[in-house]
Amino acid sequence: MDRVRFLELLVSRLLRTGVMVSGLLMVMGLGLLWATGDASCPSGVLSVGWVLFGDPFLEPSHVLFLGFFILIGTPLLRIVASATAHLVERDLVFALLNVSVLLILVVSFVLGVG
């Protein structure tokens, strides 16, 4: 398979998988929320730790937010994947482009602006 096509299929499948997994989690979370009648969706400032690990783990609203988190992570994972692919192919300019985009995102997140 030619290298461009390989990257395209990699990105396309990655995006689709991320979307499907997060969609499934959201359906489950919403269903659980409905079934348990638990309306205690979290509000206020959330910690990254809560989104990742929950308290308790995998309670209905946590399943829901795990879905959001995976969805948001999908485009970022796509950049990581294409950076790696470009690096393997020795396409250094584009590997550098991807890495710097990732760095900018990290910086903006750490600074907490936006």
């Binding site: 396309s12 995006l15 979370g29 919403l30 979290p42 937010f65 710097s100 900018i104």
Partner: protein, 323 residues
């Protein structure tokens, strides 16, 4: 001539829309008070979820079709129709924009419509811009900014409309300029509507890079996707076919939206009961939209885009001057 009808039709729909929804919004404000608190009747909660799902379905479809995030369509609908507070609506829509982008891009990339190299190159500009914009957010005069942004959208739509009158296709084939040649940004895709393989070059790459940077600044300042600027930048400045511009814009939007979505979630502006149905609806809508785009003519897409851009511009100005 047809383009006048499209624009006229859009105004008509928009007018009807406001006429109906302003009445409903009073009703829904009532509904809202019941639903937003615990212990609301199940039927009402279900109705609310269904409303949110429908709105999201429509804006996901349009978002995928036109390369916009869909947030600009979704947020006013949620505020007016469902009576949701605006920051909660924005929180839901920014997560939904990530969904539009990922779902649509997975189709466009697989079908080889997206120009991934161009997208990755311009991503640098938009993320840099978003960082700049977000840093200066506190100092920005939002009303002035909205007005200027609205004017630039109207300008872009006028230029595209002018091009439509003079050309028979949605783009003019131009060779790569030196930078595009250096980065090999040219591409080709199979146009389903025309039934032929179409090759294109990318001109004035640096200009498009600059415009994308500005789009990033605006999206950082106002918390919007900025697809309304990216698509004209690629199509008008760099002379990229309309479908490729739409697909590539979709590809890029997810990254900037993901960065903003993190911030929204952390600040607790992301209500699970609203966001989940909105995201699910958007996923389905944008998946359908991305499949439909291939069968449409670039010219048709461009016409619809011109009309939608004009409406968005007017609405942006209206909200800028405080209407």
């Amino acid at each position: 001539m047809a383009v006048y009808w499209v624009i006229f039709g859009c105004f008509l729909v928009e007018g009807l829309f406001y006429a109906v929804f302003f009445k409903i919004s009073r009703l829904s404000a009532l509904l809202q008070r019941v639903i937003w608190f615990k212990g609301a009747p199940r039927g009402m909660q279900l109705l609310f979820t269904l409303y949110a799902l429908t709105i999201a379905l429509g804006s996901g479809f349009l978002g995928a079709l036109l390369g916009l995030g869909g947030g600009v369509i979704m947020v006013p609908l949620m505020v007016f129709l469902l009576g949701v507070p605006i920051h909660i609506a924005s929180g839901a829509s920014i997560v939904a924009v990530v969904a539009t982008s990922s779902a649509a891009a997975s189709v466009y990339v697989r079908d080889e419509v997206t120009n991934m190299r161009l997208g990755m190159f311009l991503e640098l500009a938009t993320t840099l811009g978003a960082l700049t914009g977000a840093s200066f957010m506190a100092m920005a005069a939002e009303s002035l900014l909205k007005t200027v942004f609205g004017l630039s959208l109207i300008y872009a739509s006028t230029v595209m409309w002018y091009q439509l009158r003079n050309n028979r296709r949605s783009w003019v084939n131009k060779p790569n300029d030196w930078l595009a040649e250096r980065l090999s940004l040219d591409g080709s895709y199979y146009d389903e509507a025309r039934g032929e393989q179409i090759s294109y070059g990318v001109t004035r790459t640096l200009n498009t890079f600059g415009v994308s940077y500005v789009a990033g600044v605006v999206s950082g300042l106002l918390g919007i996707g900025g697809g309304g600027i990216k698509v004209p930048a690629m199509n008008v400045v760099s002379s990229v076919p309309m479908k490729v511009a739409v697909a590539t814009s979709n590809f890029m939007i997810g990254v900037t939206a993901a960065a903003s979505a993190m911030v929204y979630i952390r600040h607790g502006f992301c209500d699970g009961f609203l966001t989940a149905p909105v995201v699910l609806g958007t996923l389905v809508g944008s998946y359908i939209g991305a499949r439909v785009t291939g069968r449409l003519r670039g010219m048709f897409l461009k016409r619809v885009f011109v009309a939608v851009l004009l409406l968005l511009g007017l609405r942006m100005i209206a909200s800028g001057v405080g209407l």
